[in-house]
Structures are given as structure tokens and as C-alpha cells.
């Protein structure tokens, strides 16, 4: 027996440490086995007997939209370790640097654990029940004084599915306002409108398994090595295993993805529209068209042109579709010969023809990936359409390895925002403008007919404009940080601070958004609550409450339920705390009760690392629109694009049009904004994780070395970036991990000390209403 308790502690720590090292090695060996079947490690000796020290529970990663399956190691009430879940087909045991440090984000020193309310200009702590009373009273008061459309909720692609579902039910159903939006409007709305206009239904037809079949990967403005690193690793592993795999990075700046790619092709901002059309021109000119596929499955269309940029308040746009013949489409493409497009885009005609040949080669399976580069684009819907055009012309779609694949940025942008429909125009099934969709929602929600307003109100940019104007007086912001992320930020921050506005913020850490709050509600974070996320490949992933919430922190779902009951909607929100997530899921599932979108039952979700929809007769659907895999297709045909009324996929004639603002003599640089691998969005979580913070402790501006020399700036010196909206001064990064071409700069937006969105422009795609964070004009000064 050990007489010194400290010795016991040391022994226990050594045992625990030894066990954790063993678990770490086991995790790597298991992951290796998933990726390289048959791999052996003769020196590997598995240790047994210490399994009681840490218990492991499954959860999806709470950062990007990949949806990696994790196993969370728990010791006592604390999450202490993370390993990739080898049973998850998404990541097969791997994860990225953010995922492996994710549990540390739970334990920042300044975690919000109590509610706060502004009194006499100061935030004071109050019991959470009192804060919820105030929130409910303020909603009632605001509706009484200013009408139902003066209250709004603004959520997130990091909302769980139940979070978004109850938000929609309360605001759209019970309160009768369509003032429901989510930050996913800022990251994937163009993907939605791209899918809807080309296929009539949202979300990808393929799945990550495409990576294991494709011979060619073309990434369109998509730095996957940093933004979707696990999928990028899977591409690299395939290239190592199969030898006939090629990666083309098509982008506006050189990144880690460019370095790992077989070929890097740079284009001038906004000209991806022209290059995509030029690829189609070449496919037709060389007769690489898959005529059998096109004749059976495709129709041709055009829409309006010169469609504007949404810069003015209350901007309205409705597209008008007109049918085209193939010959008319071919004539439209005559403006886009590779030689003409070379002058506009800076991409050589040779490189355009090279990419066209890859798409056109019938022996190659091609997968295109994209994310923010194409979606945060003033013609975001169009560029999505144009990449679909390429795949449709050559018939490379909906079969293993042939996939135009729109990736999402957030863990549940698909699950919560797109599928639940937490956008102003949408419902859990369909649109508010559609009487049948409204009737279904009113029936499931047990509401009187006519409760749901048929008219959409404000998309995100217009919602914050309405707050500034005073049309919205109350806004509840959950799981997002708009006072860092809104473009042309100064206007919207000043608007939020105006007299007569009431801002409620539910979050886990103080942010610039909690700085403008009248009420702060402490939120339970990720594995401190039960929930579901939906990832980029139509996969729904359940997680249970693995560790208890801290202090008075409460799930966003339960916060909304508490307020709904205070507003008199007990009938619509009857659930008990013990089982409310399962009950909400089963109610929500009724909206998708059809073979095109059926979701897995709660019991199935609990058992598996994730389940893809449509989930029909106990089977997941990996490739939609292909009768071999998709039970919603008519049998007896090779493909069935059942989303559109003509049962075909639509090719759109969409022209090149310039960005809302381009460099000129005074503002002579393009500004592009984005992310880095170490930090998640605005950094409110990852900047509190020591390893990630130390790896990239501050934001910076990437400048081409020749431009830096012209400015007289060396690495680390301060540069002032000035636009017509504002300025920010930050350190220069020259020949760092990313290198823009001359005349362009790039700034990551994760650092709240350098608010780059005070500089950006709030132009948006008129169809998707998604802002273009990738293009505006700035000038630079040495500070």
C-alpha cells in the first residue's frame, strides 16, 4: 500500500497517460486499416486492461461541413480526448487539427455560464429564468407596438436540427412572421439556388464515396487542404493508391491545395463564369457531348441578364426562365472561345482546353468540388449552374466518381438550414409561398389555417438593414457572430446599437455580438446537449449529451421552448426535458415522409455514426437520380432527374458579368477574404484553444512579394487596407501559406481584433441573396 497520496496520484497519472498513449496508437492503427486494407504493424502490441479510465462516445465534429465522426473521450464529467471514429464512412478514423482540439473549446476561461441583462447601461447577471421572462415579454411588447414583422430570429448552420426546427415553428408558425434567417445564407445560399434552378431539388446527388472512384478532381476556388482537410487527405490517399488520379486546383490565389495539386491554374476574380462557359464551348466544339445522356435527360434554358448587385435597400429581383434549343445554347457560347476568355480571365487557352479535355474524356471519372469561392459570388447561382452544365453535357453525374459536388462550410448548414428551412422563404418542407406546404406545416404544428404568412420577408443582409432602419426592433441571435461576419459591418453594427433596438444573444463566449446585446443567454455547447447535424453529403448525425452543460447554460432548443411557453404556445411545445430531442425529431421527420427525402428514425440515428437520406426501407441513398441507387427514380431508365417538372436536369445559358466593384485607379487591389485551417469562422472558439491560437495567433494580409516591395513593406509590417466603406490595419504576410497574384490581397476573417468586414461590400447574388465576400476594391498603404 502506498503511504503517500501524492505517489498514488503520480502512479495513476502515469497509468492514465500510458493508457492514453496506447489509445492514441490504436486509433492510428485502426485508421490506417480503414484507408489501406490489409496493412499490418508487426510491432504493434495492443494493451488491455485500462479501458475503464476513459469512456468513448460518438459525436460529429462541430466545425466544418465535412461531418467527421468523432469519438469523444470522457473522464468523469470532462471531455479530455478525441479520436476519429473508424466506423464513420466520412473520415474513416481521421480528423483535422481543429477536430482533435475541439473538446478544449468547451473549457475556455471566459465561458458564459450565467445569463446577463443590460440595466442602466451595464450588463448584470440574473438567473436564466428571469432572463427568459424578459425575452418573452420583449417579444410580446414589440409585436404589440410594431407588429409581428418587427421581431426576428437569426441562427446558424451550427444550430442543431432541433434548434432550427423549434425556431421555425415558433416564429413562422406561432408568431406568423417569416423573419427567420441563418448565417448559412452567407455561406451556401448560392449552392441552394444552383441546385434548385438546375435540378429542382436541393443538395448533392453524390457522396464522399465519389472520392474513391474519381480519376480527376477539379477544385473550383476551393482550398480544400485547409477548409476540408480530411476530404483532401482522402483525395491524396486515392492518388497514392491508384496512380491514375489527378488533382487540378483552379483558384484565384496559390494555397496549400495548389502546392499539393498536380496542376494549379489561377484565374482573375469573377472570371470563373467565363472559363466555365469556355469549357462547355470546347466540349461542344470537340463533340465530347454525351448525346445519349443529353437527349434523354437535359433541357436548355436562359434567364434574365444584367441582374444587379443588391446594393440598395429593399432590392428586388425575380428571374424569368425561357426555354432554349441546343442550337441557341451553342450560339450563346460563341462569345466564350478559349482564346477570347484567355484575355478576360488570365487563364491560357491551353489550360482551358486541358480542363475541357479532362471533363470530355469518356474514360475519366471527374468530380468537381467547390464551396465559398463559388457561393460567395455576386453571380453565385450562375456559377453553380455553369459547373453543372459541364457535368451534364458530358453525362458525368450521379454515378460513382462522376460528381459535381458542392461542399458546405458548417456542420449543419445542410441539416438545419437547408433541410429544416430556416430561411425566410422556406419551411421544413417547401416554401411559405406554396399553399400546400403551408397547410402541411400548419397541420403538423397543430396551428389554425392561415397562421403562416405566405410572403417571405427579409434575407440576411436585408434583415440587418431592416434592423438599422427600424423595421425590425427585436432580434434573437443564436450560435453565430454577425458583428464580425456581416459585410459592410459598420452600418449593421451601428444599426444594432440604435435606440429602440433589443438584441438577445445566445452564445458560449463573449464576442463583438454579445457586446451589442441587451440580454445574453448562456448556451450549452455541442456535446453538452443532445442534437443532430446534417453534413454536406446528406448525412444526418446524432449525438447525445456527453458532458453536462456548465453553470446555467441551456441548449438553444430548450431556450426557445421556454420562451414559446411563456408566449402561450404550450400546446405546440409540450415536450419534457428527458426526451424532447427524440420527440422533436420524430415530429420533424413527418415533413419529409416521401421517397425523395425520407429521414431515418431516431432509434436508427442513435445507433449509427450517421445516416444518409433519402432513407427508404432501411436503406441509405448514396447517388440520387440514378435508379440503381435511388428508390425515388422511375425504373427502366438510366437516370431520372425528378426534381424539375420536365423530369430533366436544366442547362442554363448564364453569361459572364463583372463583380459589383472592381479595382480602378484609386482602389487598385482586389480584396478576397476567407479562412485558415486552424480557426473556425470568427475564432470565438478556436482562438481559445492554446495549440490553435499559438499556431496562428493573429490575422494578416497576404500580399504578393512584388506588391509588398512596391509598398516598401516587409513580412510582419503593418499595412492599412482601405475601401470606400472603411479601413483596417494589420500585419503583412509575404510568401506565407497563401500567395495572391499581383493586384490581389487575401485576409482571413477569424480575428475580431482586425474586422476586415468593415472594409468589404454588401453586394449579393440577386437570386440567392448571398453576399460576395471574395471581391471588392481596396487600396493599400504602409502604416
Amino acid at each position: 500500500m502506498n503511504s503517500n497520496p501524492r505517489d498514488n496520484e503520480v502512479t495513476m497519472n502515469l497509468d492514465r497517460r500510458s493508457f492514453i498513449k496506447c489509445a492514441a496508437a490504436l486509433s492510428a492503427v485502426t485508421a490506417a486499416g480503414s484507408i489501406f486494407p490489409g496493412i499490418s504493424f508487426a510491432d504493434w502490441k495492443r494493451q488491455e486492461g485500462a479501458s475503464g479510465m476513459i469512456t468513448w462516445k460518438k459525436a460529429p465534429c462541430r466545425f466544418c461541413g465535412t461531418g467527421c465522426g468523432l469519438l469523444i473521450g470522457v473522464s468523469g464529467d470532462r471531455a479530455v480526448a478525441v479520436k476519429g471514429d473508424p466506423n464513420s464512412s466520412v473520415n474513416k478514423g481521421l480528423c483535422c487539427v481543429k477536430g482533435y482540439h475541439s473538446v478544449q473549446a468547451l473549457y475556455g476561461a471566459d465561458r458564459i455560464t450565467t445569463a446577463k441583462v443590460k440595466r442602466n447601461g451595464k450588463m448584470v447577471e440574473v438567473p436564466i429564468q428571469e432572463a427568459l421572462d424578459i425575452v418573452a415579454a420583449k417579444i410580446k411588447e414589440t409585436i404589440g407596438e410594431h407588429g409581428k414583422n418587427a421581431v426576428a430570429i437569426y441562427g446558424s448552420g451550427q444550430w442543431t436540427i432541433p434548434d432550427g426546427y423549434v425556431a421555425s415553428k415558433l416564429f413562422k408558425g406561432c408568431l406568423g412572421t417569416n423573419n427567420v434567417e441563418a448565417n448559412a445564407r452567407l455561406c451556401m445560399a448560392s449552392a441552394v439556388t444552383g441546385f434548385m434552378t438546375s435540378f429542382g431539388l436541393d443538395e448533392p446527388m453524390g457522396c464522399y464515396e465519389d472520392i474513391d472512384h474519381a480519376n480527376v478532381f477539379i477544385t473550383w476556388g476551393n482550398n480544400m487542404a485547409e477548409m476540408h482537410p480530411v476530404l483532401f487527405s482522402r483525395m491524396l490517399s486515392n492518388r497514392k493508391l491508384r496512380k491514375d488520379v489527378e488533382i487540378i486546383d483552379f483558384a484565384t490565389r496559390s494555397t496549400r491545395s495548389s502546392q499539393a495539386a498536380d496542376k494549379s491554374i489561377l484565374f482573375r476574380p469573377q472570371t470563373d463564369l467565363a472559363v466555365a462557359n469556355a469549357i462547355c464551348y470546347e466540349i461542344i466544339r470537340n463533340n465530347w457531348v454525351n448525346w445519349d445522356f443529353v437527349n434523354k435527360n437535359v433541357s436548355f434554358h436562359k434567364g434574365k441578364t444584367n441582374i444587379g448587385y443588391g446594393l440598395e435597400d429593399n432590392f428586388q429581383f425575380t428571374d424569368k426562365e425561357e426555354p432554349l434549343t441546343f442550337e441557341q445554347y451553342k450560339t450563346f457560347l460563341e462569345d466564350y472561345s478559349p482564346e477570347k476568355v484567355e484575355k478576360l480571365s488570365g487563364v491560357s487557352a491551353r489550360d482551358i482546353k486541358y480542363m475541357a479535355a479532362l471533363y470530355g474524356d469518356p474514360a475519366k471519372k471527374v468530380t468537381s468540388f467547390w464551396c465559398m469561392g463559388m457561393n460567395q459570388h455576386s453571380r453565385g447561382t450562375w456559377i453553380n449552374n455553369l459547373v453543372y452544365n459541364i457535368h451534364l453535357l458530358v453525362g458525368k453525374i450521379s454515378t460513382p466518381g462522376n460528381s459535381p459536388f458542392s461542399l458546405t462550410g458548417q456542420p449543419s448548414a445542410c441539416g438545419t438550414v437547408r433541410e429544416v428551412g430556416t430561411l425566410t422563404h422556406a419551411l421544413p418542407h417547401g416554401a411559405v409561398a406554396n399553399p400546400e406546404d403551408r397547410a402541411l406545416a400548419e397541420k403538423i404544428w397543430d396551428l389554425p389555417e392561415g397562421s403562416i404568412d405566405p410572403k417571405p420577408t427579409y434575407h440576411t443582409v436585408e434583415m440587418f438593414r431592416a434592423l438599422d432602419r427600424g423595421d425590425i426592433r427585436f432580434i434573437w441571435i443564436q450560435v453565430t457572430n454577425p458583428m464580425v461576419t456581416m459585410p459592410k459591418l459598420t452600418r449593421y453594427r451601428d444599426g444594432a446599437k440604435k435606440e429602440g433596438r433589443f438584441i438577445v444573444v445566445s452564445d458560449v463566449y463573449p464576442t463583438p455580438t454579445t457586446d451589442v446585446a441587451d440580454v445574453i443567454l448562456p448556451a450549452a455547447m455541442w456535446i453538452e446537449k443532445e442534437g443532430m447535424f446534417g453534413n454536406s453529403e446528406r448525412r444526418t448525425q446524432h449525438f447525445e449529451e456527453i458532458v453536462p452543460p456548465q453553470g446555467e447554460a441551456m441548449s438553444d432548443t430548450w431556450q426557445i421552448i421556454e420562451v414559446a411557453r411563456r408566449l402561450g404556445f404550450e400546446k405546440q411545445f409540450p415536450w419534457a426535458k428527458e426526451d424532447y430531442i427524440g420527440k422533436i425529431w420524430e415530429e420533424y421527420r413527418r415533413f419529409h415522409d416521401n421517397p425523395k427525402h425520407n429521414m431515418a428514425p431516431y432509434t436508427v440515428l442513435k445507433e449509427r455514426p450517421g445516416v444518409q437520406w433519402p432513407f427508404v426501407n432501411g436503406k441509405e441513398t448514396r447517388w440520387r437520380y440514378n435508379p440503381e441507387y435511388d428508390p425515388a427514380c422511375d425504373k427502366g431508365r438510366d437516370f431520372h432527374f425528378y426534381g424539375q417538372n420536365d423530369n430533366r436536369a436544366w442547362i442554363w445559358a448564364r453569361p459572364y458579368e463583372p463583380a459589383a466593384e472592381s479595382p480602378d485607379k484609386e482602389y487598385n487591389f482586389w480584396l478576397d477574404t476567407g479562412r485558415v485551417i486552424e480557426h473556425w469562422h470568427t475564432g470565438s472558439m478556436t482562438m481559445r484553444i492554446p495549440v490553435l491560437y499559438n499556431a496562428v495567433p493573429s490575422s494578416y494580409v497576404e500580399i504578393h512579394p512584388d506588391d509588398a516591395a512596391d509598398l516598401g513593406v516587409v513580412n510582419g509590417e503593418m499595412v492599412k487596407i482601405i475601401s470606400r466603406r472603411g479601413s483596417v490595419t494589420m500585419p503583412a504576410s509575404i510568401l506565407g501559406r497563401g500567395v495572391p497574384p499581383r493586384g490581389q490581397v487575401f485576409v482571413p476573417f477569424f480575428d475580431e481584433r482586425y474586422l476586415i468586414n468593415e472594409v468589404t461590400l454588401d453586394s449579393f447574388c440577386p437570386i440567392s441573396k448571398q453576399p460576395d465576400y471574395k471581391k471588392c476594391a481596396v487600396k493599400l498603404e504602409k502604416a
Partner: protein, 81 residues
Amino acid sequence: MPIFSYLAMPIEGAKEALAEELKALSFCEVLPADNVDLLVLVTDAPDEKAQQDLLEQLQKIPSLQSLSMTFGCSDELQPER
């Protein structure tokens, strides 16, 4: 006291060299695969600073093509920002 594990891929034909270079670093244990050009690396740095230094050293190894993380464990308290 962070513990991590990784899959380490060597550049073409450099598996032995990579194993030796990794073994030469402090806080590293290496487990080579028998039949694939791949190594398992387990790191056991005493603190976050040592972990950061180790990561920087790993990034400089010429025979290393890529590192994919498979496990992470750290229960240190968060420092003041």
C-alpha cells in the same frame, strides 16, 4: 500534457529515412507498417509549448510528405488571451 497520434506518409522511397528522423525527435514514438509506406507516430509532449515546437520540427522533415492526425488528448486549462 498533449498526446497525439498521426499517420505519417513518407515521400517516395523514404520510409526508412523518415522513421529514423522521427525517432530522433524528442517525445516521438514510431510504429512503421510492414507492407505499406506508412508510419504511425505517437507524440507525448510535456506541455503545449513543447508540442508547438515539436510540430514546427515535424514540418521541417524533408522525407515527410504528409501527416494526418488520428487522435488528440489534452486536458490543460486554457491560458489567458
